[in-house]
Amino acid sequence: MSAEPVRVQLPPVLRSVMGGERWLAAEGSSIAAVLADLARTHPALGLHLFDEAGAIRSNIVFLHDGEMVRAREAASRRLKPGDEVVLTNALAGG
């Protein structure tokens, strides 16, 4: 039996890419690995996750276990099966 997947919550603007889906399931032991899995299974979404250089887009931030995780920290942020990650982005304004 395979391990329980990680669940990723998309921000509203990216849900339109996925037919309105709010939560996606993916596999990986780090946030970066989970995003790579999402890009592999959903290439249209992958355009928005990784830039030309193959890096996670720098304005994306994650919420995991009550903490904010920046894109540059995504590879070192370890995940357990069944974890939930909120994907969102830097916001400008008051």
């Binding site: 339109s16 355009l47 250089a53 304005n59 982005n89």
Partner: protein, 377 residues
């Protein structure tokens, strides 16, 4: 016949449709995505380009303007491509975490989509040209343009270094033109392998800019069937070429001439369009690069019937208007008589069904209008 307008705004696209060009139905799609350009191919598929400072650029397609699907591919530079530091400085306001400091070249906006000879072309910023020969499913860079020998000397305009104008020759698939702010106008005669600056007779944007590639072209229009007659709205005035861009002459008889911030006098504006059946050309002058709104608040479209002299068209347009019409926000439907449409930076769309003789508001309350494209089906 149905006329459809795709109106691009920073918060999505307004789709306006009419069967009589009098009453219009409006639908707002791709909510939350800045919409910057659109195109339609010769099989009736529509394309919309979106961009986001957070999530990059993408293309959406639809066969009915109602249901949209994002494609899994978009124009992208190679990881090893190096970017323009001045362009990076201009777009750095959205670079919250310092990505650009490493010097890469990124597609941060699709300024123009152009369907010609069975291919879809995308003009982007940081300035470059890409082509898709499979209806947007995959994209290839046009290296003859993107790696042009003059590129190290290209200087961005205020809006960044963007390839915003693409024109093609209906009778010659090897000939195309591309306009870049502020590196001027280029032409290829060998299907995109080599490109040559076509700015003779047009002043550089500033005196210190290179004479061959320092022009700040704002938009260019022509009849693709008579492709070598070109009309060019430049930062420094309105010009015409009768030889495919080899040489240019100022045509400002009847246009409002203003003083630019550097003291130069010319007619300033961004948008241009042509009604193919009559050959009439249209521009929307603004009162110089400092003010960027219509002179004395009178919103006016100017028409040239002969490619030399201009007349103002104001019937139905407001006289207390202090906003701009951006470069992509004027379009013609090519019906008979020709319909014209434009949107303002304050979110109002105006329409004319009599080649600009009279206008009326057909949408308002939209975000800043960045593009207007008219399609007939």
């Amino acid at each position: 016949m149905t006329v459809s307008l795709i109106v691009g705004t920073p918060k999505g696209a307004a789709i306006l449709r009419s069967q009589d060009r009098q009453s219009w139905q409006e639908q707002f799609v791709l909510r939350g995505w800045p919409v910057t350009a659109s195109a339609r191919d010769d099989r009736g598929r529509s394309y919309i380009a979106v961009n986001s400072p957070n999530y990059g650029v993408a293309l959406h397609v639809s066969d009915d303007l109602v249901d949209w699907r994002q494609l899994a591919s978009a124009p992208r530079y190679r990881p090893e491509d190096r970017g323009n530091p001045e362009h990076h400085r201009l777009v750095a306001r959205d670079d919250f975490t310092g990505l650009l400091k490493d010097g890469g070249r990124f597609v941060d906006q699709i300024w123009n989509l152009h369907w010609a000879h069975g291919a879809l072309y995308a003009g982007v910023s940081e300035a470059g040209l890409f082509v898709s020969r499979d209806r947007g499913e995959s994209w290839q860079p046009i290296d003859g343009f993107n790696e042009h020998p003059s590129r190290p000397g290209w200087t961005p305009g205020f809006g960044g270094l963007g390839a915003h104008t693409i024109l093609s020759d209906r009778n010659n698939p090897n000939r195309m033109w591309v306009g870049v702010s502020a590196a001027g106008f280029f032409r290829t005669d060998d299907g995109g392998k080599t490109w040559h600056p076509k700015n003779k007779g047009v002043d550089p944007a500033v005196d210190a800019a290179p004479a061959s590639t320092g022009q700040c072209v704002h938009s260019v229009t022509h009849d693709p069937a008579k492709a070598n007659v070109l009309y060019r709205q430049e930062h420094r005035g309105v010009h015409r070429s009768d030889d495919g861009g080899d040489t240019w002459q100022v045509i400002e008889d009847g246009l409002p001439v203003c003083e630019l911030s550097d003291g130069h006098h010319c007619s300033f504006g961004f948008a241009s369009a042509i009604d193919l059946k009559s050959g009439h050309v249209f521009v929307v002058p603004l009162d110089g690069d400092n003010f960027r709104f219509p002179r004395n608040g009178q919103l006016a479209v100017y028409r040239s019937r002969d490619g030399a002299r201009w007349e103002p068209l104001t019937k139905g347009l407001p006289s207390n208007c202090y906003t701009a019409v951006l470069r992509g926000a004027l379009s013609a439907d090519q019906m008979d008589p020709g319909g014209l449409y434009f949107g303002t930076a304050s979110g109002t769309v105006y329409a004319s069904s009599d080649r600009g003789e009279s206008w009326r508001e057909i949408a308002s309350g939209l975000p800043r209008v960045m593009s207007v494209d008219a399609y007939v089906s």
